[in-house]
């Protein structure tokens, strides 16, 4: 790894429901584990590179609560963060940008309406539009040659689209980054889906963020090297205090992966 290679990013994902932090295990039986603003501040101070908030609030009338969380985070956390969940229009995206989110994440709504990616990209710029893909293994077929299928509704509904084709389509429509979330690996803490991540990362030019399955520092190492990912998303392994962000970065650095090391600054 030379100096010409960007640092690999460690990104923490916070699931938010009704303004509170939750972490899903296989997307069912979510458990409240605290205040998202407090957690965001803790990770920011601990040297995290970026944050992702997924709003898993069921009802659409609770959108205001999420905007409030975003504004509070933006007032204290000075690293990029993105927000996903329930973004169905350019207006949703613009409101989140104005509230302080650097990027927005689109997922199911983009599967149903792919032009949403293009509209958001034109309105707020490709660098601020992240396409999040939920992916499940399946038997390879003519329509799903890779054996990885796009699913929606938290993994319950397959849509008959190949994940690799969808990644390329998302890039073409103007997504500036992709999150590849393996539903099979999500919540298992047994490691990322390396093969899937690598297939996607090799198929597109935009940065790829691996998601789902992180449980040990080795898992991050694997997906950032063998998996060709530009960034690794972590959740429960840091939320429950098993590892700090700094420990993960020190581990990665000891294995030769270039990461940003935080240092004390007096301002």
């Amino acid at each position: 790894m030379g100096r010409n290679v960007l640092s690999k990013r460690v990104i923490a994902c916070l699931d938010v429901r009704d303004g509170k932090l939750a972490k899903s295990i296989k997307f069912v039986d979510t458990k409240d584990i605290g205040d998202p603003v407090e957690k965001a501040r803790e990770y920011y101070r601990g040297g995290l590179d970026e944050l992702v908030f997924y709003d898993i609030t069921a009802s659409s009338d609770a959108r205001g609560i999420m905007l409030d969380v975003v504004e509070k985070v933006a007032a204290e956390v000075f690293i990029p963060f993105s927000v996903g969940g329930g973004i169905r229009s350019v207006e949703d995206a613009t409101n989140l940008r104005l509230a302080g989110a650097e990027k927005i994440n689109v997922n199911s709504a983009a599967v149903k309406d792919p032009e949403l990616i293009a509209r958001c990209s034109r309105a707020i710029g490709a660098q601020s539009v992240v396409l999040s893909m939920d992916v499940k293994r399946c038997t390879p077929s003519a329509t799903i040659p890779s054996g990885y299928e796009i699913v929606i509704n938290g993994g319950r509904t397959p849509v008959g689209r190949d994940a690799i084709a969808w990644a390329r389509e998302g890039e073409r429509l103007g997504a500036g980054e992709l999150v590849v979330n393996s539903i099979d690996a999500d919540g298992t803490r047994e490691g990322y889906e390396i093969r899937l991540t690598r297939l996607v990362a090799d198929a597109v030019q935009v940065p790829v963020i691996a998601s789902g399955g992180a449980g040990k520092p080795e898992h991050l190492y694997e997906v950032l090297t063998e998996g060709h990912a530009d960034a690794a998303l972590v959740a429960s392994m840091v939320h429950y205090g098993d590892y700090t962000v700094l420990e993960l970065k020190e581990y990665l650095r000891s294995r030769g992966v270039k990461v940003r090391m935080p240092r004390a600054v007096s301002i």
Binding site: N4, V5, A74, F78, G125, S128, R260, V265, I267
Partner: protein, 205 residues
């Protein structure tokens, strides 16, 4: 008081919030007259040079900024604000403010692993001391999101570089004008330090 220039650039409020967090008074304005009279100016930006220049001109902010720089007002440009202070930008091949001789150019990368836009944390190397970069240490990384970068004609105008398929200028300055391609408002405590030093900078270097 810092005057943040509003020309529909995406990161206005982020810059304001960062100023708030470190206790710097700031206000956002699109009024050319307020810019001319400002004591200190941040000229931020995210987006495209072409549409940025259109809005800057339609609000008379081009002449206002030129006048402020001429008067010796400390000015800090960020991202697009660091690009359109040069003569021209390759993005849309548009004429810019011409405050520092040179052009804004696109990354031309041979290594297929390197992607454009350049998004993420990258090491910033101070090439020449400047009061606004006073707290920087070797190895410090700041946050970037861009496809183009400023390329001043006179190498003396370059205060810091970063590497992405080769060295590129990521901080430039001339007298009371300073500008960064990285985002101090999204680069953690090291970035906030730039804003704080700017709030006390007398415009000399």
């Amino acid at each position: 008081m810092i005057t943040i220039v509003d020309y529909n650039a995406g990161n206005l409020r982020s810059v304001k919030r960062a100023c708030d967090a470190v206790g710097i008074d700031s206000k956002i304005t699109e009024d050319a007259d307020a810019v001319v009279k400002a004591g200190r100016i941040i000229f931020p930006g995210v987006g495209a040079a072409e549409s940025a220049m259109e809005t800057v001109k339609s609000r008379g902010l081009d002449d206002a900024l030129r006048e402020a720089v001429r008067r010796g007002t400390p000015v800090l440009g960020i991202c697009i604000g660091a690009q359109i202070i040069l003569d021209r930008s390759e993005e849309g091949d548009v004429a810019c403010l011409g405050l520092i001789p040179g052009n804004t150019v696109r990354f031309k990368l041979r290594d297929p692993r390197l992607k454009v836009p350049h998004i993420g944390w990258n090491e910033v190397r101070v090439e020449k001391p400047h009061p606004l970069l006073a707290g920087f240490e070797p190895g410090d990384e700041l946050y970037f999101v861009h496809s183009y970068y400023p390329s001043p004609r006179d190498p003396e105008r370059v205060y810091a570089t970063s590497d992405y398929g080769g060295a590129f200028c990521c901080a430039l300055g001339q007298g009371n004008l300073f500008a960064t391609q990285f985002h101090p408002e999204k680069s953690g405590p090291i970035g906030l330090g730039v804003l704080q030093r700017f709030s006390r900078w007398d415009g000399t270097c």
